[in-house]
Symmetry: C2
Subunit: 260 residues, 2 copies
DNA sequence: CCAGCTTTGTGCACGCGTTCACAAAGGCAT
DNA sequence: ATGCCTTTGTGAACGCGTGCACAAAGCTGG
């Protein structure tokens, strides 16, 4: 559910791998890599599915989109499947990545081992703060944003990670795209608008927490009969120019959310 | 439909909200909050949809699950909608959260403003490293993992964030759940197994990048004439374990990425 | 009070994703 | 070889999510 820009009939010849399947391939790959390190030669769909946390039928169907790589009565060859999935995901080649915005999060990302371990190479760390330039984070020197275009061109970067504040995310995004980046991983809490052909995936910590809160509330409400909220919001319809509802906070945030 | 007056679609109101809709509510809420700060009184579904990056029909349908909060010919009252969505998401109450694993990522999360701004309060930072205990991160003192159960009980924590290495994630998870946590946001690259009734959402940086790499590879392959997946690395059956390099195509290279 | 314009709310159809259930395929023991 | 047992690969049904298209609702001007 990244960007809804998908006017492709999903008919890229036999390469019509469903998006949902693609999203699970890294999961399978991780489980298979673990098995590989333990020198396990083969796995059944049932075992692998358990390790990946999915349904075995789903896993088999997912693999069927890649081809018939299993052996009936035996299972899947671990090493072979690792290779096939890696190739399908494009991990058999090197992907230089730039991280823009070296704050707490950007630094954490730079240090994250999961990047380098699968074909992703941090080509550069970029920040707009001049005082950061020259400092070393995760063994890589932070460069100033002025050189962004040059860095991307020199390294052939096609994937960019945005870890800036929300305010500058779109601007950074535009520059990345203009410089040739066609895939963006966005950590800033903003909706990015990009031209067609550019993929954007967003990771939003706040949204994830809010979804959890919803379910948490629902769980709590299930046990209580019908707990009426202690907040009489009133003023349902518009029409009334009375937009001066109760007494929200000066910051304009959710009224009732204000901590006591 | 019938009498559309009462907004309670057969089931328990909150029960009837599709998961996909719940996932978008925080997005709408953010856009609405921005409008609220600019003192915009009302918005049309078209405007709000654009701001949230979704289809306007989808937005209207989403809101219809909450109830009829709009005014035909006018749009939606911003303040009122902010309140309704906040309430539906459970943000009208305070959610104490613990973050376990105060490494680079954990520290970044602790400093992330998006937490505190919407009813989430970092009740405690917990780490197993004794040398970290007592140090202050984001204005909060890091506590040792020994006190995990006590901290959760004392603060009534029901949401936990796991930012530990993959190796200890399941163990931490088990302790959290045993102590009463029923919602977990997992940043560790592992599949967590939890008892029924516990919600887990995972944020996996590596997986997101791999999905981007897939699309990136596909984009690159589209321009080249139909690149037949010539690459019989052999070793289909369980017998041969040889991973043979083959001839991928134009780019030729293909450095092995998989660690042994 | 009525006509006309705007925007919501939603019935409906379509397509994707999930799951079931089973025939086909392959190994292994005899 | 042959028959049995295991596991894959997939056809088909089902359910969810998306987007279209339009009637109903509400505001505004005459």
């Amino acid at each position: 559910m990244a960007t809804g820009r998908n006017h492709r009939p999903a008919t890229s010849r036999s390469r019509g791998i469903p998006e949902a399947t693609v999203a699970r391939l890294p999961l399978y790959l991780r489980a298979l890599t673990a098995l590989s390190e333990r020198s396990v030669p083969t796995v059944s769909s049932e075992e692998l599915a358990a390790a990946a946390g999915v349904n075995s039928a789903k896993l088999r169907k997912d693999f069927s989109y890649l081809g018939s790589y299993g052996t009936r009565g035996v299972g899947y060859d671990v090493e072979y499947l690792v290779y096939q999935i890696s190739r399908e995901l494009g991990l058999t080649q090197d992907w230089p990545v730039v991280i823009v915005g070296i704050g707490n999060l950007g630094a954490a990302l730079a240090n994250y081992g999961g990047f380098a371990s699968r074909g992703f190479r941090v080509a550069a760390l970029i920040d707009a703060d001049p005082t950061l330039a020259g400092r070393t984070v995760a063994g890589i020197e932070v460069e100033h944003a002025d050189g962004l275009e040059q860095i991307i061109a020199d390294n052939g970067v096609s994937i960019g990670v945005i870890a800036t504040p929300a305010g500058s995310a779109q601007q950074v995004c535009d520059r990345l795209v203009a410089a040739g980046v066609t895939s963006i991983l966005n950590f800033a809490p903003t909706v990015l608008s990009v031209p067609e052909g550019v993929d954007v995936r967003k990771v939003d910590l706040s949204i994830e927490l809010q979804i959890l809160a919803f379910h948490e509330q629902r769980k709590a409400g299930e046990e209580a009969p019908e707990e009426e909220e202690t907040a009489p919001p009133a003023a349902p319809p518009a029409a009334a120019v009375t937009k001066k509802r109760s007494e929200p906070g000066p910051d304009g945030d959710v009224p009732a959310v204000m901590p006591a």
